[in-house]
Amino acid sequence: MEEERLWKFRKPEWLNSMWARNAGVYAAGALFSIAFYVMLDSAVWSKSAKNASDVHVKFVDWLPLIFSSLGMLIINSVEKQRLSTDSFSYSGSGVAWKARVVLFLGFAALAGGMAGGVTVFVLKFVVPGVGMPALSMGIENLVSNALVGFSSVVLWISQNMEDEYSYNLSL
C-alpha cells in the first residue's frame, strides 16, 4: 500500500482519525447553515425598512442557491466506492458508469448554481448600477453560493476520510 502512493507528501496521521472526520461533517453543516442564512439575510433585509431602494429579492434570487443545494445533495449521496468498481469483474451492471453520470449531474448543478449567482449579480445589480447598501444583497447571493460549494467540498473530503478509516479498521 505504501508503494502505491502517488504524491510525495503523505497525509498527516490526524486526518484519518474518527475525530477529524466527525469535525469535518459538523463543519460542513455549519458552512451550509451560514450559506442559507446569508441568503435569508438578504431576503429579510430586502423587505425591511432599511432597504430604501426599489430592488427586492424575488424568487429568481433564490434559484441559484436551490440549484447549488440540489447539486450538493446529489454529489454527497453517491457512494464513492462505486466509482472505482469498473476494474473488478463482478460489476456487470455498470454501476460505476451510472455513478459517474449522476455525479456529473450533481457537479453540473453545483457549478450552474454558482454561475447563476454570478448571472443574477451582474444582470440585476451591476448593470443597472445599484448603489452600495442594496448592492450587498447581490454580494450575499454570491457569498452564499460559494459557501455551499465550500461546504460540499468539506463534506466530500470528510467522507473520503471515512473510507480510509474503515479500510484501516478492516485490515
Partner: protein, 129 residues
C-alpha cells in the same frame, strides 16, 4: 472526569436559568419576541444526532449505510447550532431587533446549548457503567 454529582446538577441548572434569563430579557426589554426562536433552535439541535444514532447500526463498519445516517445527523446538528447564532444576526441586521438584544440572545442560547450538551455527556457516562 468526576461523576455527575449534586453540585454538577446544581451548576448546570444555574447556567440554564441564566441562559433563559438572558434570552427572555433580550425579548422583553425591547418588546420584540423574535429572539425566543433561539431557544427552540437549541432545543432542536441535539435531536438529529439522537434520532440518527437510533437509526444507525454502530457495529456495521463494512457497509457504510449506517455511517451515512450518522453523518446526516451530524450535518443537521451543525446546521442547527450555527442557526442559533445566525438567526439573531439576521434579525439585527434588518433592524427587527436591537444589537444589544442580539448579543444577549446569542450568549443565552450558547449557555442553553452548552448546558444541554454537558448534561448529555454526564448522562452518557452514567449509562456506560
Amino acid at each position: 472526569m468526576p461523576t455527575a454529582g449534586l453540585k454538577t446538577i446544581i451548576a448546570l441548572s444555574f447556567v440554564l436559568a441564566v441562559g433563559f434569563l438572558l434570552v427572555i430579557l433580550s425579548c422583553a426589554l425591547y418588546k420584540v419576541y423574535y429572539p425566543l426562536l433561539v431557544v427552540a433552535t437549541y432545543v432542536l439541535a441535539p435531536l438529529p444526532n439522537w434520532i440518527c444514532g437510533r437509526c444507525a447500526n454502530p457495529d456495521d463498519f463494512v457497509e457504510s449505510g449506517g455511517a451515512a445516517v450518522l453523518d446526516v445527523g451530524r450535518f443537521f446538528t451543525g446546521f442547527f447550532v450555527v442557526m442559533g447564532i445566525a438567526l439573531p444576526a439576521v434579525l439585527a441586521h434588518s433592524d427587527l431587533i436591537r444589537v444589544e438584544a442580539m448579543i444577549m440572545s446569542i450568549t443565552g442560547g450558547l449557555l442553553i446549548y452548552g448546558t444541554i450538551i454537558s448534561f448529555g455527556m454526564f448522562f452518557q457516562e452514567e449509562q456506560e457503567f
